[in-house]
């Protein structure tokens, strides 16, 4: 379970205004719906939590008591399949909202890929806050539409036949998400491991590694570091992907 350091230790992420105003995802997360002077209401129900890599945030089947905004790091959402395979369905990036699609219980497990920081909100209090600030509700609706679009991208990726098509589309989608959050399109930061990518794309680790090599040998990407992918030829990578992610 997540360590609620902020709640128990002396280090506070709840100083009025400061933390939220300086937050890197202030303009991307759900809180973007609120004016600076309204943030206090959100901060009042918020617990900022720092969790280590590989630690669980929420578990599939648990009652949905809290929702979260990821402010830094990366989460993986997954479901264990009956055959024991782990199907990762999404990677959450800073600014993303955890708990968007869940009903009374979490339908997926969320784990930190790397050390991450989350803002947690009790569901009941968040619901009350949305009544007070309908813009929060509108913002969540908008985020739901974005999440649906990302799910569509994900379906396209998983629907591709060839492993290199899947990997190429995956890299392009990540690159676009980086661009959307104001970062350069390349290099693409891959905080997740090859195993994570394999469990997301439905491939073996060997196939993922081989696919990286194939894309590199074709001069489409370079791998300057283990967790970085430089896109050398975006046009050709898009042709290999065989889809046009938006």
């Amino acid at each position: 379970m997540a360590q609620e350091q902020a709640a128990t230790s002396g280090r506070s992420y709840r100083d009025p205004c400061g933390v939220c105003l300086d937050c890197a995802v202030r303009r991307q997360a759900v809180c973007a719906a609120l004016e600076d002077h309204e943030l206090g209401a959100l901060q009042a129900i918020m617990v900022s939590t720092r969790i280590g890599a590989q630690q669980t945030v929420v578990e599939e089947g648990q009652p949905r008591r809290r929702v979260f905004t990821l402010t830094s790091g990366m989460l993986r959402l997954y479901t264990m399949l009956p055959d024991g395979r782990r199907q990762i369905t999404a990677f959450l990036l800073p600014g993303d909202y955890l708990g968007l699609g869940d009903e009374s219980s979490y339908d997926q497990t969320a784990e930190a890929v790397v050390d991450s920081v989350l803002c947690g909100f009790p569901v009941a209090e968040m619901d009350r806050l949305m009544e007070r600030y309908p813009r929060l509700q509108l913002r969540l609706n908008q985020m739901t539409r974005i999440a649906l679009r990302q799910a569509r991208d994900s379906q396209l990726i998983l629907g591709r036949l060839a492993p290199v098509e899947k990997l190429a589309s995956f890299l392009l989608v990540l690159s676009e998400r980086q661009a959307e959050s104001g970062e350069p399109e390349s290099p693409v930061h891959l905080a997740m491991t090859r195993t994570d990518i394999a469990d997301y794309l439905g491939l073996t680790i060997e196939t993922v590694s081989r696919s990286f090599t194939k894309l590199r040998l074709q001069g489409l990407i370079q791998l300057p570091e283990a967790h970085q992918v430089e896109i050398i030829d975006r046009r050709a990578l898009t042709a290999v992907a065989g889809i046009t992610p938006r």
Binding site: V164, L217, A239
Partner: protein, 446 residues
């Protein structure tokens, strides 16, 4: 981006020449003399084979040379090597189920004529003791035009040699000085005359582009001069500058080497020259006169790829003799030790000199068929060449080339466009499952 810009970009990519699949660079030490012997014992004696004899010695070493060859300063070294060749022939012969027919014979090097007419005759006699050499077969040899005289020409014709490849490179004196090989046009013309007078029917020229100081102008002049000598075939290769591997190439001034763009222009100048004069384009780097067997093989779709380039030889089995020589057997490839003294010592000890090889899997054979089809006819029908696999990754990786106008993909059929033909090696490399490592060490596609 124009198609030509795309071709130029792909042309600079390091890719194997695919004279075999897997490329010899992929052979493994896991295959050695035990496999070599077992595979020879299991040869079908009713199938005729091709033979290749490698003579890795030269009187002097040219700066550009990338072949496996050494300077022979003493005659006893050459005599020793000739004995080793004869020894290897006897050894291989003793492993064969029974006498096998030979349908093709080729000598390469180095400078095979360094053995002298008597040496060549002695090796041929050794071959005849083990093999049935059919009458009138194609019998080819590589010659250095500087070392051809009427006596050698007559001796070769007497031994049945009917095709000669002469290394011409470039006829420009400045280029010749830069590559350490001075052979004026008159030398080449004289060699051709002597060989034709002796009755050697077919003459091939080997040209090289990408050499120091070489220009499109020097190449056009070379092409015009050699075309006047009415060759039967032209082979043209890009100079592969690998000085970290070849000490002799360190003599070449890198600052005067043509860059990738210039190499591309030079290759195209050669192709345009011979095509304009009615020669038939053969694969990526050969031309043949319309009457030549290779031109007919192109017309009939019988062109094949082998270690020497392109051939109309459809025999699946090649027995290679000599240091570094490769044999292609039904079960796999085997390659001899490249170091000449070590090769000779192995043979003297009655051992096969095998050092590496590759046991072919069904998948290797299938991928090899696809790569050979692309290299020879610039098209491949994947479903026909390999009904067992679907190649989704490969088809996806070819899409950028298709988008650039270099090839067309229609379901399982790949066809290089006219513009894309020069970079067919790049498309072939997509089917090479051995290319897990970086391409460093292979020459540029053009």
């Amino acid at each position: 981006m124009t198609v030509e810009a795309a071709v130029r970009r792909y042309a600079a990519r390091p890719v194997p020449r695919y004279t075999s699949y897997p490329a010899a660079a992929e052979f493994s030490a896991a295959v050695g003399s035990a496999e070599h012997a077992a595979w020879l014992r299991r040869l079908d004696p009713d199938e005729s084979v091709s033979l290749y004899l490698h003579v890795p010695y030269c009187r002097e070493l040219c700066h550009y040379c990338g072949c496996h060859t050494k300077i022979a300063v003493r005659d006893h070294v050459i005599a020793g090597y000739r004995q080793a060749l004869e020894g290897e022939i006897a050894l291989v012969g003793s492993l064969l189920p029974r006498r096998i027919r030979v349908g093709r014979l080729a000598w390469g090097g180095g400078t095979p004529s360094i053995l002298g007419a008597e040496g060549l005759a002695a090796v041929l006699a050794a071959l005849r003791r083990q093999f049935d050499i059919e009458a009138g077969i194609e019998h080819a040899i590589e010659l250095d035009p500087r070392h051809v005289d009427p006596a050698l020409a007559r001796a070769l014709a007497g031994l049945g040699v009917n095709r000669v490849s002469l290394g011409v490179q470039d006829l420009d004196p400045g280029v010749q000085a830069a590559i350490g090989r001075i052979q004026p046009q008159a030398t080449v013309a004289a060699a051709v005359r002597m060989l034709r007078e002796a009755g050697v029917a077919s003459i091939n020229f080997d040209l090289i582009y990408g050499l120091p100081h070489q220009t499109v102008a020097s190449i056009r002049a070379t092409c015009a001069a050699v075309a006047g000598l009415q060759p039967d075939r032209i082979a043209f290769f890009g100079y592969a500058h690998l000085p970290y591997r070849r000490a002799n190439q360190r003599l070449i001034d890198e600052t005067v080497l043509p860059d990738a763009a210039a190499r591309y222009d030079q290759a195209r100048a050669i192709a345009q020259h011979f095509q304009a004069r009615g020669f038939v384009p053969v694969g990526i780097d050969h031309f043949a006169a319309p009457h030549d067997a290779l031109a007919k093989a192109v017309a009939d779709g019988r062109l094949r790829r082998n270690f020497q380039g392109y051939t109309d030889d459809d025999r699946p089995i090649l027995l290679g003799f000599g240091a570094s020589a490769v044999s292609r057997l039904p079960e796999g490839f085997v390659q001899n030790i490249a170091d000449n003294p070590r090769y000779c010592r192995a043979i003297a000890g009655q051992q096969l000199a095998t050092t590496r090889g590759w046991r072919l899997t069904e998948e290797d054979l299938a991928r090899g068929r696809i790569i050979e089809a692309l290299m020879c006819s610039f098209e491949a029908d994947l479903e026909r060449l390999d009904p067992a696999r679907t190649y989704p990754d490969e088809l996806a990786l070819l899409r950028p080339l298709a988008a650039d106008g270099l090839l067309e993909i229609r379901s399982s059929r790949i066809r290089m466009t006219e513009a894309g033909r020069p970079v067919v090696r790049v498309a072939a490399a997509v089917f090479d499952s051995f290319r897990a490592q970086d391409g460093k060490g292979f020459s540029m596609a053009v």
